[in-house]
Each structure stands twice: as structure tokens, then as C-alpha cells.
Assembly symmetry: none
Homo-oligomer: 430 residues x 2
């Protein structure tokens, strides 16, 4: 079954809101095995609403329209729908009663104009809402396409979808379920992953592979469609195993795993407590680690030392390093990590120092970053990773954090450092 | 001028990402007086990409396509564009050289498949990217419609839009301009602002007022449309003055101002250097302050002390406070700020301690937060703000940071603390 989503509202077209409804509906439809092939967004204009619905009806089995069902003059989705399907609107007495009762209960006079919300296309169905005042509408076009209209307020949309439309479409779509599995990778560029998985990607079809790069990591998403969830998952399983085998220890997790969450679980499992020493990231590394509820079990804190003086005073970075190789150096990263270990009494400490740009910092080009690791009682476990990243300030910071977290992950998992060639040198697009 | 935005990427249609690019582009186009009449989103399917572009070309003067310009096999926007316009692609030697140089500089072999990024429609133009590897494309359809293709990575899209496409379209769109002015407010709830500005809001029309709440601040946006920018701005000016007068010292800035940026400018102007002491925010306060390029001029660092031990060891919080009122207390916030002042040798220090939730922390309910201020050589300038916030972990953290930054702002501007009643007690929706 093919579906299309039409978002109605000038606020979408002027960028006042992002069309989150379409994203939510798409996920919900994918979960019941319905393919969404197009999204459209159109303003509060009767002719253009009608044209968009006609187009959607011409190419989909189910059309879901959101927005423009309110009580005000610019809510004209009902009229656009009527024009598109050439089906007149009729005032539905039950809905009218529902509206009048609602206002009576609120103790407020109902503007007569609000009764437009009681208009239903002839022969169509409606669902009274638990939230808000707009009934959901369902009507069939002459070619059999099912058209559904729901309010644009997210909670009202979700109510109509969950209570009525998704169950109906799920029954119509029959027992076809889409299952997903994401393999999450850090430290390898998307193009390199594409090379490694080229034949699996080309095999295409069902199961299929897609790449999603962003925020310093790549998600390899495997999807499969089958009559049931168990069958779809069984189709994914061998592909997932093959993908994981080829990508090796660059795989840090699956599905909703975050790198900081994975590191947190490893710290708990090994009974270790972590401290950070930050410079260019300004506290963002600590902020990410502590975003996870329960982080206080393993996170002690972070010394954000933005100046050379602070690195010396708080982390004990030596005057020799500051006067010699400087703050953007392997030596400084090592001393910062060791300093954090001492200052917080941590078991493991990780440091980041570098130039986030746009200007060079202490003689180092923007994107030059060192991440250091120190382990209590194991001086030989100490290591430093050097990076040369490209991108804007935010991207360089984000990539640096990924590398610092990966350093901790590899230490805790007993993995060697990746070969230098696989340490990403570009922050763009990944 | 009428524009249409076509988002390419199966990740949009399955709801993996929200089409934020379309929202950003719509806002940017509205700002230069270009009307966006439709959005479309389509998957990584050559025929459907071509069909969507054809439809957009048939009804718009400018078509903006995002996504599908990457180096992998599922990046096929170029091919879809070529099919839609019936214009062949040609390998552009300059782009090829750019790509080869880039990889050479990275010291990495370039997968030959990446050269598809050097393909440009015959007779079209291209812009080499500063970020990423995908050139922006511009080509004219046979009916004169301008079609632009940019990468889907938001930072890369915005670069091409800001540097090339928006200036070009702005020149073409001519003198019908929409001007905006945002008055930014911290520490006052949206509903209170709506009360204060009710008559201005009801006046409506041109200029018009809108409220946008989020991230712990409220933006009051005044918009006006006129034949020229100067005329539109002149219409905004008296409304802006009235809004600012009614909202008083809760106004911290305008337009793109951020609270951390405003604080940074004040620190520079007064020649003061700031340090932070954080607990529940985990480093996010420091991260935000240091996001601004040039922050090293006034930001020394942040002691993120997530445990009581770290508060004692690094910030010198006294055992009496830890054993007495505890870490979520006015006394602890005060000692943390004083400790940061000492540890960093700062002129001004601000602290945050509290319970971010979901569990109570040290006996304090989630949302109980104290922000402390300490000023070198001026013990009497010290103050603590107490908050009882509602919301999830991320909201409570964000609100806390806003309050800490506002504490510093008011100190540097010589403003009194706001009356307790205006310190927000709910983090929901604002």
C-alpha cells in the first residue's frame, strides 16, 4: 500500500514550523508496512489544497491530510477536499451537537462560524475528537483512494492516527511489516563504509541498506519487509551480522544507542568512574556524558580549562609543555588527562585540546585536535589520538567529542587504537 | 517570485529525519520577499525525483532541491535533475580537480565513484563548497525556471543558500520586501508577555506581532511588508520601541542575539573574565558560552563538579555545607561560585547546582536549582537565584543556564534582580 502525506498550512511554507507531523506519520506508517512515497506541503489556499489532494489521490492508495480543520476563516481544508474529490460538504447534526455541547460545558458562547467544523463530505465518515474540536474525516475518492483529514495540532493528529487511521490502514495493508536495524559506526567515513558494503548495497531490494551520516557517526540502516515482524527480523539478521563483521570494531552500537550511552554502560560494567579535561569543547563533552539519566553513577565531572593558566592551575599542566609544544599538542593532551585523573580521583580520564577555529589557536591550524586518555595505576594504558578535522566550529567540536568518547570505549573494550588511516580527517558530511 | 522546495531522501519519507531544511529555506526565502507555495519530499528514486522536479518547474519560478548530492550510490539527484530537464550531465574538470586535491590533502585515496560529484548539467553553473564535497548546482529549465540543487547536510545547504542562491534570488525578486525584527526576552512567561502586548497583537495586519517561545526565552517577532527594506523597517520601528518599553529589562537582545553572546559582549566591554562552576548542567553552560568564536577573550573555563567530592576538592565547597544544607542549596551555589572565582582567578563567576531529574537529588525535588554569582573584590555583589522548574531533564538544564546567564547579564548591566514573581517557575512550553 502506497501513502502520501499532504500538510496544509502557510506556517509550514514560511518556515514558522517544521513539518514534524509528516515525520511522525511517516514513521507510524512505515511501522505498519505502508510505503510513503511523497510528502507535500501547501498553504491555506483552497485551489492549491485541492490541486495537491488531487495529485496525491492520483498516485497513492491512501492520502493523509493534516491541518486546516480548525474553526477560523483560514481553515479551508474541508473545502479543498470537497473541490478535489467533487463531493459536496454536508453539515453533520451529530458533530454540530458535539460542538454545541462542548461550548456549553466550557460555559462559553460558540461563534456560529465554528459550525464549519461540523461539515463532512457526503458519504464520508468522521471521528469525534477526544482533544480539540476538529473531527477526523475519512472519505473515498471515485478511484477508491482513501483520503483522511486530521487536525494539524500534533496531539490531535496523533490521537486520530493512533485511534482510527493506523488500525484501519494496518488492516488494509495486511500482514506486511517493515523492520529496521541500525548499525552505528564511529571513526570511519561514509564513503569508506559505502566501499566496504558496496555489494550488499547493490543487492538492494529486500532487505535493503541505507547510510545516514551525521554528528560524527554513520548509521547503516538495514530494513526488511515481511508478513510479520519476526519474519522481517529474521531477514535482517544475516545482513546485520555481515555488516557488523565487515565494519569490525568501528561498530559501537545499534539502533538508539548513543556513543556516550555505550561508554556509560561500559563504565558501569567495569566499575570505573570517568573524569574529563576539556578545552576547545568548552564543556560539551561533559554535557553529553551527563545527559543520560544515571550518569552520576560513573561521571565525576569535567575541568573545562579554556586558557593556558587554567590548564596549569587546575590540571597541573607543566610550564615546560605550555612554553614548549604549547596547549595544542600531544604532551598537553596527555598532561590534561593525567591532571583530570588526579583532580577528580578518577579511574579513567579523557582530555581534549585543540583549535576549534575559525582562527588558529596557539599556532595550530583550526581542526588540529588532540584527545588524551589516562588510566589510574596504568601509565602504559595512556594514549593520545591526533586529528586534523575540517568543518565549522560546531562540527570540529562534535567530531572531537566523538573521538574522545571512542578513545574511552576502545580502552574499556580492550580494543587497539584504529589504524591512523581510519581516523577521519574530514568533519564534513559525516 | 514563486519558489518551490523539493527535499530528496528516503530518510524524510520514513520519518528518520524531519525536513528542517525546508523550514530554514522557507524562512530565508520569506525574508527576501520570495513566496514559497509548495514543499515536496521524495525518496531516493530517480523516476520520482525527476517527476517531482518537473512538477515544481511547471509551477514555480525558482526550484530549490536539497539532498541526494553525496558520493554514494543512493545519491541520484543529479540524474533525476538531468531526466527532468532533459539536459545531460557532463563531468566538470574543475570540480574533479577540486575533489582530487581535497582527498590528496587529506592523505586518503579517493574512491573513483566519488567523481559523480563532479557531474554538472550541460550549460549549468556550479559553486565549489567550503564545507563538504558536494558542489551546489544551478541550471535553467527550458521555460526559464531556475533550478538549484544543494546538499542535504544542513550546514552545507545553508552555506550554498547564504553565499550564492539567496543573493541571486534576492536580486531577481526585486523590491517587495518583508522585514522582521525580533525582541528577545528572558525570565518572563509567554502568557505574561501576551497580556502585556495584547492590544498590539490584536491590531494585527501590517506590521504584525507574533510570539515564539522556546529554549527558555521568548521571541516577540514584529514583521512588516513594504516596497523596500527601509520602508518596512520604518514601519517596524515604533512598534519595536513600544514593545521594548513595555517589557523593560527582561529584554536581553534583538534578532540573532543569544543570551550567551550578549553576556560575552558585556564581559568584553567591562574588561571582565568569567568562570563557571556547574553541576546539573554537566558542562553545557560552559559549552554554550564558548560556542561564540572569540570567547577565549573573556571565558576562562568551567569546573564541572558532578559529585560532592569534586565540589569539595576542586571548588573548596566546605564540609559544613555538604553535611548541612547539602549540594542543592543556596549555600552550596554561593560557595561554588566563590570557588570558581578562586580556582580560575576570574573577575566574575557563576554557579549552578540542582536536581535535573528524573529522580530527586540529595533530597531536593527535580527542578530545584540554585544559581550563584560571585564577583572578585565585591563580596556584597554576590547573589543567589532560587528556581523551581518543571519539565524534563533537558528543559530543566536549559532553563537553569538561562537563569545563570541572566544573573551575569543583570550584574554587568547594573540591573536589580527581577522581582521573584517574574522568575519562571515552569519550564514547560517556554
Amino acid at each position: 500500500m502506497r501513502a502520501e502525506i499532504v500538510g496544509v498550512g502557510t506556517e509550514i511554507l514560511v518556515g514558522d514550523i517544521c513539518n514534524d507531523n509528516a515525520a511522525w506519520m511517516s514513521r507510524a506508517l512505515a511501522d505498519i508496512g505502508v510505503d510513503v512515497l511523497h510528502h507535500q506541503a501547501v498553504g491555506d489556499n483552497r485551489a492549491r489544497i485541492a490541486e495537491s489532494i488531487r495529485l496525491a489521490v492520483s498516485r497513492a492508495d491512501a492520502v493523509l491530510v493534516t491541518g486546516g480543520l480548525g474553526p477560523t476563516q483560514d481553515d479551508i481544508t474541508r473545502e479543498g477536499l470537497s473541490d478535489a474529490l467533487e463531493i459536496p460538504l454536508e453539515r453533520e447534526p451529530q458533530v454540530e451537537r458535539f460542538l454545541r455541547d462542548l461550548y456549553a460545558r466550557w460555559g462559553r458562547p460558540m461563534p456560529e462560524a465554528n459550525l464549519q467544523q461540523a461539515d463532512v463530505p457526503r458519504g464520508g465518515r468522521y471521528w469525534l475528537p477526544k482533544r480539540g474540536t476538529a473531527p477526523g474525516l475519512a472519505v473515498q475518492a471515485s478511484d477508491g483512494t482513501r483520503v483522511y483529514c486530521v487536525a494539524g495540532v500534533p496531539a490531535e493528529m496523533r490521537e486520530m492516527m493512533s485511534d482510527h487511521i493506523l488500525p484501519e490502514l494496518s488492516a488494509l495493508a495486511g500482514p506486511a511489516t517493515l523492520a529496521y536495524r541500525s548499525v552505528k559506526v564511529v571513526g570511519v567515513a561514509e564513503s569508506r563504509i559505502a566501499e566496504l558494503l558496496d555489494d550488499l548495497f547493490r543487492a538492494g531490494g529486500n532487505p535493503a541498506i541505507a547510510y545516514l551520516a551525521g554528528h560524527g557517526e554513520v548509521r547503516v540502516r538495514i530494513s526488511a519487509k515481511a508478513v510479520g515482524l519476526a519474519e522481517a527480523q529474521a531477514m535482517i539478521e544475516p545482513v546485520e551480522r555481515e555488516v557488523a563483521a565487515r565494519l569490525g570494531d568501528a561498530v559501537f552500537g545499534y539502533d538508539e544507542d548513543t556513543l556516550e550511552g555505550v561508554v556509560g554502560r561500559l563504565l558501569v560494567r567495569h566499575g570505573r568512574r570517568l573524569a574529563c579535561a576539556e578545552s576547545l569543547t568548552g564543556g560539551e563533552l561533559g554535557a553529553r556524558i551527563s545527559e543520560t539519566a544515571g550518569a552520576s553513577e560513573y561521571f565525576l565531572g569535567s575541568a573545562v580549562t579554556y586558557t593556558a593558566e587554567a590548564k596549569h592551575a587546575i590540571l597541573g599542566v607543566s610550564q615546560e609543555v605550555l612554553d614548549g609544544p604549547g596547549v595544542v599538542s600531544e604532551a598537553c593532551a596527555r598532561e590534561m588527562a593525567e591532571g583530570a585523573l588526579r583532580a577528580f580521583g578518577a579511574d579513567v580520564a579523557v582530555s581534549l585540546t585543540g583549535a576549534a577555529g575559525p582562527e588558529p589557536h596557539d599556532g595550530a591550524d583550526p581542526g588540529t585536535v588532540f584527545a588524551g586518555l589516562a588510566v589510574a595505576g596504568q601509565p602504559s594504558a595512556g594514549r593520545v589520538r591526533e586529528m586534523h578535522l575540517r568543518g565549522d566550529r560546531a562540527m570540529i567540536r562534535r567530531w572531537s567529542e566523538q573521538q574522545a568518547l571512542d578513545l574511552v570505549r576502545r580502552h574499556l573494550q580492550g580494543l587497539p587504537e584504529p589504524p591512523a588511516a581510519t581516523v577521519p580527517v574530514s568533519a564534513s558530511g559525516n
